[in-house]
Amino acid sequence: MSINLTLLIVMGVLYACGIYLILERSLTRVLLGLMLLANATNILILAAGGYAGLAPLFNKATDSHEYNDPLPQALILTSIVISFAVTAFMLGIIYRTWSLARQDDIQDDVEDRRVARTPSFDAEDDAAVPVETSEFPLPHAEPAAPDDTGATVPAGATHMPAAAAAAEEKPGRRAPGTTAGPTGGEE
């Protein structure tokens, strides 16, 4: 059993700094944080290999224990090159964000905030169902249009007239002041 405290402390500091940086808003700092995290992880794997030893170049006279463990080394080698590719990709993202929006910040998702403010209104769920007593209504038996009493129902963050809300539920017929939905406007 061998636990190299020097390596582990370096790892801990790199992790701490990396975490601090990825909690930033600036994309550049987040990328730097990721690079520190990758380095920290490489050190962790390296430390798992035990004592420093000979370079793992095979020599018949050398006992296996005298080499530094080659397996963690192979893993780290893979990790280094992948980190390079990821870094390049992140750089591409940073450049693109900057050239499109002139900002280097991670923005809050406005849509998520809007969703959080939305009441649980759903026009489909909350409209009153008209009583239908036939699948084959005669022309004169059309149910009367919803009375325009000025009542409103909450729709999203705003209110809309109850009559308009009910009319939206009937594709093909448009009440004044409402827009046709995707299935609407068949007339």
Partner: protein, 1007 residues
């Protein structure tokens, strides 16, 4: 059975095509399938009934590992159910051919769904595997959703379809849990085997669990068969086209719950909660349904609530678990299927011809169509239990069975309560049957006679057939009796002599108490109808107690509110918030585990490695670099500080005994640094902390806690090691198996070649990602020869005012950078004079080829010495970087006249070939071979085929480096050069080369 199912579903799949050609008459063709199945059932009669096994089995292995098999079993119960499903199914399809118009939309899909539904019901009743049965159960749920929602433009149809789906699926999920518990406890999912073990399970150690499982299964049946308190979905589902109501909501789907109860009753009716649930809910449903039916003004809703009532009734009878009740239950089920389907179809005709189903607007329909009236009268009379008809025969035997039950001392007072409840329910049935007939057909004073179009015989044909069957069944019940007897025989005869056997269905049993009760019910029901105004007045005074529909709305509404609340609290749209939560969990959980476990710190900890004491010094450098990177408020300073840690780690690798890692890390750090500079040259120099001071403390705490936790986790994890490392074998393996001395390299290209292959695939993907982020539209494969480009045109600075400080600097630089001198590089002359550096060009000229040769050396020597494909490829990438920096983007395309995409593809292909070729030669994937050859100059050469894999790695890495240079370097250059025309003010920031620092800073000062 499997053939019947297959034919049905295949036909359903092609049905839409048939409809395109034959319009609504295709329904006739579809009807032939269930009709054929009915004939097939008749042919099976011989093997299902008098024969010795009493059933036919078909088993097809499906997923043997899960013990899941397509097991089907046709016994008496399945046969009777199938007869109802297929018989009524074909009749309803025939009816559809006249109910719908050719102009109706989506008829093809509708026909397919209806046929598939018949197939699913057939599968449900014949399946002998609990899970297969459940699959068909859910299929019927989904198909019923589609069928109810046929009129997709109507709100009522959409909503009630969804309501039916949610309610029945909720019950179905409960049932699934119950089925799995039962299946696991029994050790088999075969229904027949489970039922044989039922008594043993009910008394065994798991009896409590089994009782709960049975309750869960009943919950499924309760929702599917619309029993109280979930009865509300069935009247809602009347938004479906009437043929659907006739089939799903009278004959087939709602009977699925009854079927489950009937199927399990022989085994589980002794389960502790079975009788209270089945009888209690059944009776409540029967009474609530009958009561509510009397309040409806839509004739279809009268039937719907009537169906609810009858379903409760059926559940009670079928679930009693006595032979006579079982006989009566199935008899009633068949009778109900016949008369209720007929009545629904009659309602469909009335609606179709009159344009309304409202009893306040219907008047004098009987005068318009006497034939329709007769058909309806027979069916309604059967529903009311009028003698000579099917309903009467069945109800008689039910009353008989419950009369015996009430006499049984084991039943106690509840037997009598049930009997009275059934008589009351029957009274209500008679009353609403009369109300239906009166409402649909009678002449009502004060209501105009309803205009009624004449009915074509082909339209009336189906309900007429059903009514005739009701009469035949009533007059000649003995065949039905014979069908059901084997099922009734499954039940142990009740104790006590009288009524211990199943008895028989018959029109005339003599003057029995049951007959008396029948007469009582009919008389009382008729009385209720006669005094209907009094009854209505009484009903209107009683408030609606509990409205299941409203309760459902509230539940769904509360669910919506909760969902929005939870979403609003968790999905904040802030990456910082998410990361903080995730990371806090990531350190808090292991930390808590460490504290709770409270293990002593393992031994073997040392601060200074005796083999490598210098590590401590390097460690200090790395830590300082990391802290400085955090503190840095200039962009490039922060990047440089991170690089310091990176180079420090390369040193650490070297000190630890890992030359390959040190080499690779050095090369990567250098290329990354260049990539950073290239990508970030347009971004502002300052790096402000925009997260705000409020969160800084939180970030410090999370970061520090995470770091400390990782240290302790690592200490304990390494201290927990007990086995010798697997890699002790690697040196031998590498030398003898892989034929190489560099153990790390052999590990990469041979021992763990799969791993490396995955990695280079990731590299290719990431490189492509970078290119697509920068090039956006095309991948930028176009290459232009430097010869086509005018001298000194690339990167030329324009738009600088002559008299400004900037202009003076530029003029100075131009004077010294003489355009006329020869270029040291091929494309050097394309660069603007102020961008050229003679020293850089000369040095590049000197070292480029050496670097390339060195990279090839690293690649080939890597098998035995430090190096390999990764290091070699990175070195070549570095060489290209130098060329690009010195000579601009045309120099880059002169140096590497191939597209990075082709390089990536070629590299991956080479690596893949080195894996596949051994396979073709009869070896393993990625198997390597050692070839000893003699070459003229080199003498004996030992070549290991895994080197080919390494060459693939090399090419991929070069491709990655080239992609980075082409994207972040060359393409961004072009973006800048294109920029001044539209945005002159930004041009000031677009420098690469010697004047960058001066001019860039000056330009930024102006802003």
């Amino acid at each position: 059975m499997i053939t019947v199912l297959a034919v049905t579903f295949v036909m359903a799949a092609v049905a839409p095509l048939i409809f395109q050609r034959m319009q609504r008459n295709s329904f006739y063709l579809l009807a032939a399938i269930p009709a054929g199945a009915t004939v097939w059932l008749a042919l099976q009669f011989g093997s299902v009934y008098p024969g010795s096994p009493g059933f036919v089995e078909e088993i097809l292995p499906w997923i043997p590992d899960l013990k899941l098999e397509l097991a089907f079993r046709m016994d008496a119960l399945a046969w009777v159910m199938s007869l109802l499903i297929m018989g009524v199914g074909s009749l309803v399809l025939v009816y559809c051919a006249r109910y719908f118009k050719n102009s109706d939309d989506h008829l093809g899909g509708f026909g397919a769904q209806l046929l598939a539904f018949a197939g699913s019901m057939f599968g449900l009743v014949t399946a002998d595997d609990l899970l297969v049965m459940f699959i068909f159960w859910e299929l019927t749920t989904v198909l019923s959703y589609l069928l109810i929602g046929y009129a997709r433009t109507r709100l009522s149809a959409r909503r009630s379809a969804l309501q039916a789906l949610i309610v029945t699926t909720a019950g179905g999920l409960a049932m699934l849990v119950g089925l799995i518990i039962v299946g696991n406890a029994a050790g088999t999912y075969r229904i027949s085997a489970v039922l044989q073990k039922a008594a043993e399970l009910g008394a065994g150690p798991a009896q409590g669990t089994i009782a709960v499982a049975v309750v869960l299964i009943i919950a499924g049946a309760v929702t599917k068969s619309a029993l109280v308190p979930f009865h509300f979905w069935l009247p809602g589902a009347m938004a479906a086209p009437t043929p659907v109501s006739a089939y799903l909501h009278a004959a087939a789907m709602v009977k699925a719950g009854i079927y489950i109860v009937a199927r399990l009753a022989p085994g589980f009716s002794d389960s502790p909660y079975w009788l209270p649930l089945v009888l209690g809910l059944g009776l409540a449903t029967m009474l609530v349904g009958g009561y509510r039916a009397l309040r409806q003004t839509d004739i279809k809703l009268i039937l719907a609530y009537g169906t609810v009532s009858q379903l409760g009734f059926l559940t009670m009878v079928v679930g009693l678990g006595r032979p006579d009740a079982a006989l009566a239950g199935l008899a009633l089920l068949l009778a109900h299927g016949l008369f209720k389907a007929a009545l629904f179809l009659v309602v469909g005709i009335i609606d179709h011809q009159a344009g309304t189903r409202d009893i306040r607007r219907l008047s004098g329909v009987y005068r318009s169509s006497r034939a329709l009236g007769m058909v309806a009268a027979v069916a309604a009379a059967s529903m009311a239990g009028v003698p000579l008809l099917a309903g009467f025969v069945a109800k008689e035997s039910v009353l008989e069975a419950f009369f015996h039950y009430s006499q049984d001392p084991a039943a106690g007072p509840w037997g009598l309560v049930l009997l009275l409840g059934i008589v009351l329910g029957s009274t209500l049935t008679v009353a609403y049957s009369a109300r239906f007939m009166w409402g649909a057909f009678a002449v009502k004073p004060g209501v105009e006679p309803t205009p009624f179009k004449a009915i074509r015989p082909s339209f009336l044909f189906v309900p007429a057939v059903l009514s005739v069957l009701s009469i035949v069944y009533g007059l000649w019940p003995s065949p039905v009796d014979a069908w059901i007897q084997p099922y009734a025989a499954l039940f142990a005869p009740a104790a006590g002599g009288e009524g211990s056997g199943p008895g028989h269905l018959a029109l005339w049993h003599g003057l029995t108490p049951a007959l008396g009760l029948s007469v009582l019910a009919i008389a009382a029901g008729a009385g209720m109808h006669y005094g209907r105004e009094v009854v209505e007045r009484l009903q209107s005074r009683v408030p609606d107690w509990v409205d299941g529909d409203r309760a459902y709305q509230h539940t769904i509404g509360a669910l919506d509110d909760t969902a929005v609340w939870v979403t609003g609290r968790t999905q904040r749209g802030s990456l910082y918030f998410y990361l903080a939560v995730i990371l806090t969990v990531a350190f808090a959980v292991p930390l808590a585990a460490l504290i709770i476990a409270n293990k002593p710190i393992p031994g073997g900890i040392y601060l200074i490695d005796p083999n490598s004491p210098l590590q401590l010094v390097v460690a200090v450098g790395i830590v300082v670099g990391a802290l400085a990177a955090v503190r840095a408020n200039k962009r490039f300073l922060a990047v440089l500080m991170v690089s310091v840690t990176g180079y420090g780690i390369a040193l650490m690798f070297a000190l630890q005994g890992a030359p390959d890692l040190a080499l690779t890390q050095m090369l990567v750090e250098t290329i990354v640094l260049v990539a950073f500079v290239l990508a970030m040259r347009s971004l502002p120099a300052g790096l402000r902390d925009r997260t705000g001071g409020k969160y800084r403390v939180v970030r410090i705490i999370i970061g520090a806690a995470f770091g400390v936790t990782m240290i302790f986790v690592a200490i304990y994890a390494m201290g927990a090691r007990v086995a010798p490392p697997i890699s002790l074998e690697f040196p031998k393996l590498a030398y003898e198996g892989g034929g190489g001395l560099n153990i790390v390299n052999v590990t990469l290209v041979d021992i763990r070649a799969w791993d490396t292959f995955g990695e280079i695939s990731v590299l290719a993907v990431a490189a492509t990602g970078v290119a697509s982020l920068i090039f956006v539209r095309s991948r930028g494969e176009r290459l232009r020869a430097a010869a086509m480009v005018p001298e000194g045109s690339v990167g030329r600075r324009t738009g600088v005012e002559r008299n400004s400080r900037d202009g003076a600097t530029l003029a100075m630089v131009r004077r010294f950078a003489d355009i006329s001198r020869d270029a040291w590089l091929v494309a050097g002359r394309t660069l603007a004079p102020e961008r050229r550096s003679i020293i850089f060009e000369v040095v590049t000229r000197l070292i480029f080829h050496s670097l390339i040769i060195f990279s090839v050396y690293l690649l080939l020597a890597g098998h035995n010495l430090p190096g390999g494909g990764f290091a070699g490829g990175l070195t070549a990438g570095l060489a290209l970087t130098v060329r690009y920096m010195a000579g601009g983007r045309f120099e880059l395309s002169e140096a590497a006249p191939v597209s990075p995409g082709s390089l990536l593809g070629a590299g991956l292909a080479t690596a893949a070939a080195s894996g596949l070729v051994p396979l073709l030669l009869g070896g393993q994937v990625f198997q390597s071979a050692i070839v000893q050859i003699w070459l003229p100059v080199f003498g004996d050469v030992k070549f290991v085929t895994s080197t080919i894999f390494d060459i693939g790695v090399y090419i991929v890495v070069v491709g990655l480096a080239l992609d980075v240079l082409r994207s972040l370097g060359a393409e961004i250059d072009e973006h800048f050069e294109g920029a001044p025309k539209t945005e002159p003010e930004r041009h000031a920031e677009t420098y690469v080369g010697p004047v960058e620092s001066v001019a860039g800073a000056a330009a930024r000062g102006q802003e």
